[in-house]
Amino acid sequence: MTRVSMKVDGVEYEDDVEPRTLLVHHLREQLGKVGTVVGCDTSNCGACTVLMSDPEGRQQGVKSCSVLAVQADGREITTIEGLSGPDRTLHPVQRAFHEAHGLQCGFCTPGMIMAAVDLLQENADPTEDEIREGLEGNLCRCTGYQNIVRAVQEASAEIRQGAQAEPAPPSPRAGEAQTPDDGLPREHVPDETIPQPVP
C-alpha cells in the first residue's frame, strides 16, 4: 500500500492505495466519486475524463483510467461532480449540454463534458472541425455528436461573453493553454496496469 494525498473537487483526501490502482478506481471506489465512469479498458472511450493539475498547477484533461492513483499524489482533481459552482450553479458546458440536447443515455456525458471544458480552456473559440477533432478521444454512441458539437459551440459563446462581462471566466483552470508534458500517460497505459480478466 502506498499513501497518496490529493485534492478532489475541493476536498483534501489522504488514503492508502495499492500501487496498481487506477485513478478512476480510486475516485470511484475509495472516494465515492461515482459520477466519473468507466466505459472501456483501452483508454479509447474517454468516459472517465477528469481534470488534473500538472506540476505547475494547471488543470488538464486526463483519462483517469490511464493514470495511476499514485501518479495523482499531490495533484488537484476536478471531476464532473465538482464542476458546478459551490451554490450548485451549472458550469456553462453543463448548461449547454442540457440546452442543446447533447446527451441521451448520459453515460459518456461526464467524460464528454470534462473533455469539452478542457478543450475550451485550450481554445476558447473553436471551429466545428476543431471541436470534432478535440473530442475525438471521447466516444458517444447515442447522439451522433451533432448536438454535442452544438453544445460546445454554445458554451464557448457563453464563456466568451462572460469573459467580456467580467475578467474571470467560470473555469476551473486559469492557466494558459500549453501542451502538457509532465510524464503522465494521456493516451496509453501498459496493459499490466489495467486489471483485465484472463484470457
Partner: protein, 786 residues
C-alpha cells in the same frame, strides 16, 4: 384539453442528474457485505473442457468462492429463447457457465466471488483449465454443407430453422418464381450484412441482493419486466419474490434486449452465497460476450420490366445465430421479412431464411433488427436496377412506390401500411440536398476525370414500429404479447405520478411522457414525475425496443389520462353543482360549457378525493387509473435520406459531403428528442457502411475485441446532418405518433453505400462490401478499372 406541451422542444428532465454525475448506474450500486464477481472466459471458439480446477483461486487473498459450470450444472438453468420461429426450431440448451464444452470465444467457464473486483480478477487468473480443441464452425455456407463439423454434435445439424414466407402461398400476392422466370430484366445480387457489435457505452452490470427468500436485481438492461419474468421461470423462483430494477441505463440499441448469462451467474452466486454480489463487465468482455448483431448473407433476385416496374422479388438469407439462440435472435431476420418490399408495390414476393449455428458469439437484436438489412438490400437493388436500365434511380423508385392517395395500402406481405407521403418527403429531401445541382457537378467531375468523384446515394425507406399487435406476435410464434401499460396517480397536492411499463435508456421518456400528461390533465410539465424501470413500482410492462415505447406505451398513457379525466368529471360537477354533461375540460379546468369562470382543476379534484368528505354518492375516492394498450396495427414511419459522398479514387477515402434526412414519423411529442434520435440513428447506420465490423480469424478468435479494433466513429469521423420532417399522422390512435428510434439506422446505411457506388459506377464498380474502408474502395476502383 389545451395542447401546449406536445410538440414543444422541452429540455429533458433526465439531464439534471446526468450532467452532474449524480445518477445511479448499476455499477454505482454498492451494498453492505457485497462481493464482486469475475468471470473466466473461454479463449477458444470450440473445445472440450477436459479438466478445470478452481481451487487455486480459493487460495487467493480475498476470495470467498469459486465455481465452474460443472459445479453449478444442476442449479444454473438455461438461457431462454422467447422466439422459436418454427415449431421444429433447433434450440440447444445454453448454460450460463459452460459445462464440459465451450462453443464460442468468451463463453463463461468459471466464476470467482471476492471482496473486491481486483481480488476477483487476480483469482480467475489462478484457475486451471485444460481444453481439447474441437473444429470451429465459422462459415455459414460451410456449416450447412454435407459432412460439416457441428457446433452441437448432439443436434446433428448446424441449421437451426428455415422460415419461409411466400406471397402466393399466403394469398397476399403473386408467385415470385413465375415473375422471375418471365422477367424482362433480372437483377441478381449477393449482399453481406457484416457482423456488428451494439457497443452501448455503459458496460453491462448486474447486482443481486438475496434477502430471505426474495431477490432484488439491479441490471443494466432494456427489459426489466421481461427479465423478471424469465429469471423467475428459468430459476424456479416465484415471480413475486423477484424484483428487477433498471436504474439509469447507458444505452442499449437492442444490445441490452437480452437475458444474459451474467445475470443468471450473479443470481446463482448470490443465492449460493447468501450475500449481495456485483458483476460489471470490462469493455473487452462486453465486445466478445454481449450479443452481436446483423451477420446475414442475402441472396436476392429482383424481376422487373424494362420500364423499371418491379414484378417480383425473391430473397434467400443465411442468418448467423452464433453458437446458441438468443432471446429474440431467431426472429430478427423474420422482422425484416416484411420489409423487403419496402415502400414499393411489388406484386410477388418470396422470402426464405435459415438460421445457422456457428462457434461465435450469439447474434440478436441490434438497432433496426432485420429492417436495416431488408432496407439495405432493396435500396441497393433499386439502384442496380436503375443502372441496368439506364434510368435515374429516383425515377425507378417513384415508378414503384405507393402513392399518398393509396393509403391505407395492403402490401405483398399482407401488412396494412397506415399512412405516408413518399413524394413529399422525397421532394423535400432533394430540395435540401440540392439534388439537381449535385448531379450536374457529378457530371462535370466525371467528364473531367477528377480523381475525387462525387456520388449521390438515395434511400427511401419505411419500417414497422410499435411492436406490436399481440395477435400478430402470436401468429409469428413470439413468446409474449405486444401491449404496453401506464398508470396515472393523482397526488393530493395536484402533482402527478406516472408509472410506465416502458424502460428508457436514453430516449427521454420522463420528458416526453410528462408533456403528454401535462396537456391531457392540464397540469404543469414540472408537476409530473415519471417512474419506470423498477418492477416494484412498475409491475407490468414489456419494456423498450423496436421503436415501441411512444407508439404503444404513449397510447396507454394517453388512455390512462382519459380515465383520470372521466373519474374527475363527476367530482368537479359535484363541486360546481352542475350536471357532468354540462362540463368541458379546457385550459386545465372543468368548466360549465360557455362559462369561462369558476372552473375546477385536476388539483381541486385530487384534493377533493383525498379528503373524500363530500363526494357524489357511490363514487370511489380516487382519480388514479391504469391502462393497457394493445396496438391494432404496426405504425409505418418512412422517409428519404440522401447522401452525397466524395470518393478519392486514388486513396479510397470516402468523405460525406452532405447528408440530408427527411423523416415522416407521424406526430411529434418533442422535436428536440426526435432530432437527437435521428442523428444518433444515422451515425450508427453510417458506421455500418463505413467503419464497423466484428471480425473473427480462422480459428474463431474475435479480432475486434477492444475499442482499438472495433472502430466506433468519433466526432471527427462524422459530419453534421441536415434533418427535416414531413408529417403523416398515424391514423390508428389519438396521438398520431409512429416511432423514431430506428429510422436513422435503417435509412442511412444504403444511402451511404449507394453514394459510394454511384461515384464509382463509371469505373465499372457495382458493389463494395461493407464496411467500405479506404482499402476496399481502392481495391474496387482498381478491380473496376482493370
Amino acid at each position: 384539453m389545451t395542447i401546449t406541451e406536445v410538440g414543444s422542444a422541452r429540455r429533458r428532465k433526465e439531464d439534471a442528474r446526468l450532467i452532474t454525475g449524480r445518477t445511479t448506474w448499476t455499477e454505482n450500486v454498492t451494498l453492505p457485505g457485497m462481493l464482486h464477481l469475475a468471470i473466466l472466459r473461454s479463449p477458444m471458439a470450440h473445445a472440450r473442457i477436459t479438466s478445470i480446477d478452481v481451487s487455486p483461486a480459493l487460495e487467493t487473498k480475498g476470495v470467498v468462492a469459486a465455481f465452474s459450470g460443472r459445479d453449478v450444472a444442476d442449479v444454473q438453468g438455461a438461457l431462454p429463447c422467447a422466439w422459436p420461429v418454427t415449431a421444429d426450431m433447433v434450440h440447444p440448451d445454453r448454460p450460463p457457465i459452460a459445462v464440459d464444452e465451450v462453443k464460442f470465444m468468451g463463453e463463461a467457464v468459471a466464476v470467482v466471488a471476492a471482496r473486491s473486483r481486483a481480488a476477483a480478477l487476480d483469482a480467475i487468473a489462478a484457475i486451471e483449465v485444460d481444453y481439447e480443441p474441437l473444429p470451429a464452425v465459422l462459415d455459414m455456407e460451410a456449416a450447412i454443407a454435407d459432412g460439416a463439423d457441428l457446433v452441437h454434435a448432439d443436434k446433428g445439424t448446424n441449421k437451426g430453422y428455415t422460415w419461409v414466407f411466400d406471397s402466393a402461398e399466403a394469398g397476399t400476392g403473386g408467385d415470385a418464381a413465375a415473375a422471375l422466370d418471365g422477367a424482362e430484366v433480372v437483377i441478381k445480387r449477393r449482399y453481406v450484412q457484416q457482423r456488428l457489435i451494439p457497443a452501448f457505452m455503459e458496460p453491462r452490470s448486474v447486482v443481486v441482493d438475496p434477502t430471505g427468500d426474495a431477490y432484488s436485481i439491479w441490471s443494466a438492461t432494456q427489459i426489466p419486466h421481461i427479465l423478471r419474468f424469465l429469471i423467475s421461470v428459468v430459476t424456479g423462483t416465484p415471480e413475486h419474490k423477484v424484483r428487477v430494477i433498471a436504474p439509469d441505463v447507458g444505452g442499449g440499441f437492442g444490445g441490452k434486449l437480452q437475458v444474459t448469462p451474467e445475470e443468471l451467474i450473479a443470481f446463482v452466486a448470490a443465492k449460493r452465497l447468501g450475500r449481495p454480489v456485483k458483476y460489471t463487465e470490462s469493455r473487452s468482455e462486453s465486445l466478445v460476450s454481449a450479443h452481436h448483431g446483423r451477420d446475414v448473407i442475402q441472396d436476392l433476385e429482383l424481376a422487373a420490366r424494362r420500364d423499371g416496374t418491379v414484378t417480383g422479388l425473391r430473397v434467400k438469407l443465411l442468418a448467423n445465430m452464433g453458437a446458441y439462440m438468443g432471446l429474440v435472435g431467431p426472429g430478427v431476420p423474420i422482422l425484416g421479412a416484411f420489409m423487403y418490399n419496402a415502400i414499393y408495390k411489388f406484386p410477388a414476393y418470396r422470402f426464405e431464411c435459415s438460421g445457422i449455428f456457428t462457434n461465435t458469439t450469439i447474434t440478436d437484436a441490434y438497432r433496426g433488427a432485420g429492417r436495416p438489412e431488408a432496407t439495405y438490400a432493396i435500396e441497393r437493388l433499386m439502384d442496380e436496377l436503375a443502372a441496368e436500365l439506364g434510368l435515374d434511380p429516383m425515377d425507378v423508385r417513384r415508378r414503384n412506390w405507393i402513392k399518398a392517395e393509396e393509403f391505407p395500402f395492403t402490401t405483398v406481405c399482407g401488412l396494412q401500411y397506415d399512412s405516408g407521403d413518399y413524394d413529399k418527403a422525397t421532394d423535400r429531401a432533394m430540395e435540401l440536398l440540392g439534388y439537381d445541382e449535385l448531379r450536374a457537378e457529378q457530371q462535370r467531375r466525371r467528364e473531367a476525370q477528377d480523381p475525387v468523384q462525387l456520388g449521390i446515394g438515395i434511400s427511401t425507406y419505411t419500417e414497422m414500429c410499435g411492436l406490436a399487435p399481440s395477435r400478430v406476435l402470436g401468429s409469428l410464434r413470439y413468446g409474449a404479447g405486444g401491449w404496453e401499460t401506464a398508470s396515472v396517480r393523482m397526488l393530493p397536492t395536484g402533482k402527478v405520478e406516472v408509472v410506465t411499463g416502458t424502460s428508457p435508456h436514453g430516449q427521454g421518456h420522463e420528458t416526453a411522457w410528462s408533456q403528454i400528461v401535462a396537456d391531457q390533465l392540464g397540469v404543469a410539465f414540472d408537476d409530473v414525475e415519471v417512474l419506470h424501470g423498477d418492477t416494484r413500482t412498475s409491475y407490468k410492462g414489456l419494456d423498450t425496443y423496436g421503436s415501441r415505447s411512444l407508439a404503444v406505451g404513449g397510447i396507454a398513457l394517453y388512455n390512462a389520462c382519459q380515465k383520470v379525466l372521466d373519474k374527475a368529471k363527476p367530482i368537479a360537477a359535484h363541486m360546481l353543482e352542475c350536471d357532468p354533461a354540462d362540463l368541458e375540460f379546457t385550459g386545465g379546468q372543468f368548466r360549465v360549457r360557455g362559462n369561462p369562470d369558476g372552473g375546477k382543476s385536476m388539483a381541486d379534484c385530487a384534493l377533493a378525493v383525498f379528503a373524500a368528505h363530500d363526494l357524489p354518492d357511490g363514487i370511489e375516492p380516487t382519480l388514479d387509473a391504469d391502462a393497457v394498450y394493445d396496438p391494432v396495427n404496426f405504425s409505418f414511419p418512412h422517409g428519404t435520406h440522401l447522401c452525397a459522398t466524395e470518393v478519392d479514387t486514388e486513396t479510397g477515402r470516402v468523405t460525406i459531403r452532405k447528408y440530408v434526412a427527411v423523416d415522416d414519423i407521424g406526430k411529434v411529442i418533442n422535436p428536440l428528442i426526435v432530432e437527437g434520435q435521428v442523428h444518433g440513428g444515422i451515425a450508427q447506420g453510417v458506421a455500418q457502411a463505413l467503419f464497423e465490423e466484428a471480425v473473427y480469424d480462422a480459428d474463431g478468435n474475435l479480432m475486434t475485441g477492444t475499442l482499438v479494433d472495433y472502430t466506433l466513429p468519433t466526432a471527427a469521423d462524422l459530419p453534421s446532418f441536415v434533418t427535416d420532417r414531413t408529417e403523416s399522422p398515424a391514423p390508428d390512435h389519438p396521438l398520431g405518433t409512429k416511432g423514431v428510434g430506428e429510422a436513422g439506422t435503417i435509412a442511412s446505411t444504403p444511402a451511404v453505400v449507394n453514394a459510394i457506388v454511384d461515384a464509382l459506377r463509371p469505373m465499372g464498380v457495382n458493389d463494395i462490401a461493407m464496411p467500405c474502408t479506404p482499402e476496399r474502395v481502392w481495391r474496387a476502383v482498381q478491380g473496376g478499372a482493370a
